[in-house]
Chain length 190, copies 2
C-alpha cells in the first residue's frame, strides 16, 4: 500500500511536469491526480522539487530500459532494432515532445540540482546508445568506429527530430529526419 | 526616443525569456532592465504576453538575417559558409541553449498563441536553410536532392547539438555533432 501511494505520486508528478513543465506544474494538481493528501506526500518526499527530481530519475530509467535495455538483451540485429524502435512512433507524444529535452531546456540554466540531474539522465541516454553500437561492433554487424561520438550524434538527431515535430505539429518531420539518420547509419552496417 | 523605448523593452524581454523561460520571466525584471515604467510599456504593448511574442518574432528575424541572410547574398560557397557559421561558436550561449527550442519546449504544448508563433519561427528557420541549399544546387556546388527534407535534417541536427551541449555543459558535444553533420553534407558537395 505504501509503495502504491509513492508510485502514484511519482506517476502524477511525471505526467504533470511532462505536460506543463516544472515551473508550470502545480503541486495541488499532482496531489489531486494521485489522489493523495499533502500530509502523506511528506511521508515520502521533502517537497515538490525533491519529488520531481526523483520522478524524473525513476521514470527515465524505466523508459531507457524499455527502449534500450531490451535491445541489449538481443544476440544480434542491434542497430536494426535501434532504428526500428525509433521509427515506431506509437509510444511517442509529439505534442508534449521529449521529456528529457523539455526539462533540460526549461531548468538546466536556472537550477543547479536540475542541471546535475539532467546531465546524468542525458549521460545515461547516450551510454545506452553507445552500448548498443558497441555490441553491434562486437558481433561484427557494424564497422568499428568512434561509438562514443556516434552515440552523441544519434541522440542529437533524435532530440532534434522530436523538437521539429513538436514545433510543426507534424509527425512526418520526425520520420523524415530519422530516415536520413538511417541512411547515414546504413553506411556502417556490415 | 519612442522607438528607443520600444527597442529597450524588446531587448530586455528577449533576454529575460531566454534566461528564465516565458513562465519564469518577471515583468518587473524586464521593466527594470529596460529602465522603462509600466505605464510607458502599455503605450507599445498590451501585456507581457503580447510583448513577448513580438520580441521573439523580431529578435529571431534579426538573428536569421545575421546567420542566413548574409550567406544568401554570396555568389558561391553557400554550404561551406553555412557549415563554417555553425562551427563558429562565438555567438552561441550553450548555458542558455537555443532560444527557439527553449520556447517550443516550454510553451508550444500549453499555449496556442505561442504554438502558432513558434511554428512560424521554425518554418522560417528551415526555409532559410533550404534557400541556401537551393542556391548551392543552382550554382552546381551541391548535388540536386530533396532540399526541403535535408534542411529539416540540418535544423534538427543543429538543435540536437545545442541541446547536447546544454545538457552536458560541454561545448565539445556541439562541435562533435556538427563535425558528423559536415561529413554527411560533404557527400553532396560537388
Amino acid at each position: 500500500m505504501k509503495e502504491h501511494t509513492r508510485q502514484k505520486l511519482i506517476d502524477a508528478t511525471y505526467e504533470e511536469i511532462y505536460s506543463n513543465g516544472y515551473q508550470g506544474a502545480a503541486l495541488s494538481e499532482i496531489l489531486k491526480k494521485a489522489g493523495v493528501h499533502k500530509g502523506s506526500m511528506y511521508h515520502y518526499f521533502e517537497n515538490k522539487k525533491d519529488m520531481s527530481l526523483v520522478a524524473i530519475n525513476e521514470k527515465m530509467d524505466a523508459r531507457f530500459f524499455e527502449r534500450y535495455g531490451k535491445i541489449l538483451e538481443l544476440q544480434n540485429g542491434f542497430v536494426d532494432a535501434l532504428i526500428a524502435g525509433y521509427k515506431d512512433t506509437t509510444k511517442r507524444d509529439f505534442k508534449r515532445g521529449c521529456p528529457i529535452a523539455n526539462i533540460v531546456q526549461e531548468m538546466s540554466n536556472i537550477d543547479e540540482d536540475f542541471n546535475l540531474t539532467m546531465k546524468t539522465v542525458y549521460e545515461k541516454f547516450r551510454a545506452n546508445i553507445k552500448n548498443i553500437l558497441d555490441k553491434a561492433v562486437e558481433v561484427k554487424e557494424f564497422k568499428p568506429c568512434n561509438t562514443q561520438k556516434l552515440a552523441l550524434y544519434i541522440s542529437a538527431v533524435l532530440e532534434g527530430a522530436i523538437l521539429a515535430a513538436k514545433a510543426s505539429g507534424d509527425e512526418q518531420d520526425f520520420l523524415d529526419t530519422i530516415e536520413i539518420l538511417e541512411e547515414y547509419l546504413k553506411e556502417f552496417i556490415l
